[in-house]
């Protein structure tokens, strides 16, 4: 029994998203075991042991897990999680990639992207781009769940003193190989963790004009996001897309610049605490969710904003 939480990490520290998952695990109730899988991930396992509320850490340190290949990680998690009451991971691209595989290996259903825990078997999750919230009850003996991080506060990264055990299980399915990656480098905060997010849409016209947003963002310690239209047009890379099929964010302040407010975009940001919209079209749907709307040409408004903050 107990809850198994799959940790995301960079070998040295545990990523913020996992701290939100721990809070979801606490709401469910039961002993929390954190699984850290990677290659050379010992320091991350030590960090996981300090998270408040964690009773045990399993460290699967093996070359097979270096790039988090879904085939290998799913086989590991299915074995480590067998008999657990719940297996939880963040609904990041990592969790979304391997968790359904875990569920299928255990022959149970998966509950995707929960935003609230009603009880140990009942959860709330958004469907239809967040236009409806379903309360679902699952009767599988092991519940496989991905957690939308914006639905839960982060657990304290310090204060715990769990034991760390090595998990000597090498699962190399041999059917997939890592070829390479191109990771966006940025000194700005991560989109999903930032307190302030400034996003640009098609109205930005090109990638160079995003510099205006970066300048304001750097003054405010904000992350910069984008609409799908801005990503599709090649203004900015895919990892900046906010929305139903991109990243879900819920910062204290979200500023939408030159974004019309399509359902799919709103699905990714409408749980933000304060929403600001800057758009030259006063009929734009984004104004229906904005706390503060400014009808203006962004090419006038953004430089002025830059000078006033």
């Amino acid at each position: 029994m107990g809850i198994l939480v799959y940790a995301e990490h960079d070998n040295n520290s545990i990523k913020g998203a996992t701290l939100n998952v721990i809070t979801a695990a606490k709401a469910i109730g039961g002993d929390i075991t954190v699984l850290v899988a990677g290659s050379g991930c010992g320091a991350a396992a030590e960090a996981a042991a300090k998270i408040d509320g964690v009773s045990k850490v399993l460290c699967a340190d093996n070359a097979a897990y270096e790039h988090q290949l879904a085939e290998n990680v799913a086989a590991l998690v299915a074995e480590a999680g067998k008999g657990s009451s719940h297996i939880l991971a963040a609904a990041t691209t990592t969790g979304k990639n391997f968790m359904p595989r875990v569920a299928a290996l255990l022959d149970v259903e998966q509950i995707s992207e929960i935003v609230a825990v009603e009880s140990a078997d009942t959860f709330k999750r958004p469907i239809y781009a967040g236009n409806a919230i379903a309360t679902v009850q699952n009767s599988d003996s092991t519940k496989v769940i991905t957690v939308r991080t914006t639905g839960f506060d982060a657990a304290a990264a310090e204060g715990g003193s769990a034991s760390v055990e090595a998990l000597d299980v090498a699962k190399d399915e041999g059917k997939s190989a890592f070829v390479g990656e191109e990771l966006a480098k940025s000194d700005r905060p991560e989109l999903t963790a930032a307190k302030i997010v400034i996003s640009g849409g098609r109205g930005m016209q090109n990638g160079d004009n995003f510099e205006m947003l970066y300048k304001v963002a750097d003054k405010l310690g904000a992350a910069v996001g984008a609409s799908r239209a801005a990503v599709d047009a090649g203004f900015v890379p895919n990892d900046m897309q906010v929305g139903q099929t991109g990243k879900i964010v819920a910062p204290d302040l979200y500023v939408a610049v030159g974004i019309s407010g399509a359902i799919q975009h709103l699905a990714g940001m409408k749980d933000s605490k304060v929403i600001v919209a800057i758009n030259k079209d006063e009929e734009a749907p984004i104004f229906q969710v904005a706390d503060y709307g400014l009808v203006a040409d962004l090419f006038d408004a953004v430089p002025e904003l830059d000078s006033l903050v």
Partner: protein, 249 residues
């Protein structure tokens, strides 16, 4: 080589669905339905692989009710050679759908299965990964580029931090992301031709799959509405409000 493309009939992405007054679900009566956008991208990718000479046959498949034949015809108008409807009136969950697809994979032995990364109604993003696990296949999810060569498929994936490329042995499962391609529109002659392409209807029982689910929907509610905000007249007023009223900067 053969490609299987599972597609799903969903509410058109332009429709803002409303929750039913009795909280039993969303109101889908008289709502416009369409092929899930990610499935259109999957069909398009299969068609492009066929145009490149990599693929010889494309089979579109859906698990759904009679009406879903419409989306299979669309898939064939876009270039699928034939299609299969696994007919059911039930609201099947991803695990059951993956099991049905696994049964079809056993029957058809495709080298590649291309699915959408998520259906825009359930938003589960599970089916492809589950099918891969059940069929013992590797997976390339959230694909923005797919290259097939020498019995392998190289998939570039859209991940939270950027892009990742993996190489998978065939047979494999690929799920599509938005940037993989821009789907074409079906031409009128192709829509006519599609009417003559084979569409096989089988029942879930024929496949030996049950659609019973361990997940019960207790209620469906509208999300919390945001209260209407105000319009500010100037950037200066906006900054003042953010500092002193909302206290977020």
């Amino acid at each position: 080589m053969k490609v299987l493309v599972p597609i799903k009939r969903v509410v058109d992405y332009n429709v803002k669905v409303r929750v039913k007054a009795d909280n039993s679900g969303v109101d889908l009566a008289n709502v416009k339905m369409a092929m899930n956008p990610f499935c259109e991208i999957a069909v398009e990718e299969a068609v492009r692989l066929k145009e490149k000479g990599v693929v010889t046959e494309i089979i579109a498949v859906t698990i759904g009710n009679k009406a879903a034949q419409e989306q299979l015809r669309t898939a064939m108008a876009l270039g699928a050679d034939r299609s299969i409807l696994v007919e059911t009136e039930e609201d099947a969950q991803p695990l059951a759908i993956a099991k049905a697809l696994k049964a079809l994979v056993d029957k058809e032995s495709p080298d590649l299965v291309i699915l959408g990364k998520q259906a825009i109604d359930g938003d589960n993003s599970q089916t492809g990964q589950m099918l891969a696990a059940l069929a013992g296949m590797p997976q390339g999810t959230f694909a923005s580029e797919v290259n097939v060569a020498d019995g392998k498929v190289k998939v570039t994936r859209e991940i939270d931090g950027g892009l990742q490329t993996v190489e998978l042995s065939l047979p494999a499962v690929v799920t599509t992301d938005l940037r993989l391609n821009e789907p074409r529109y079906a031409s009128l002659p192709n829509i006519m031709k599609a009417k003559k392409k084979p569409l096989e209807v089988i029942s879930a029982a024929d496949l030996g799959v049950s659609f019973a689910s361990s997940t019960k929907t207790l209620k469906v509610e509208p999300p919390a509405e945001r209260s209407a905000g105000i319009k500010v007249a100037s950037v200066a007023e906006l900054v003042e409000k953010l500092k002193n009223e909302a206290k977020v900067i």
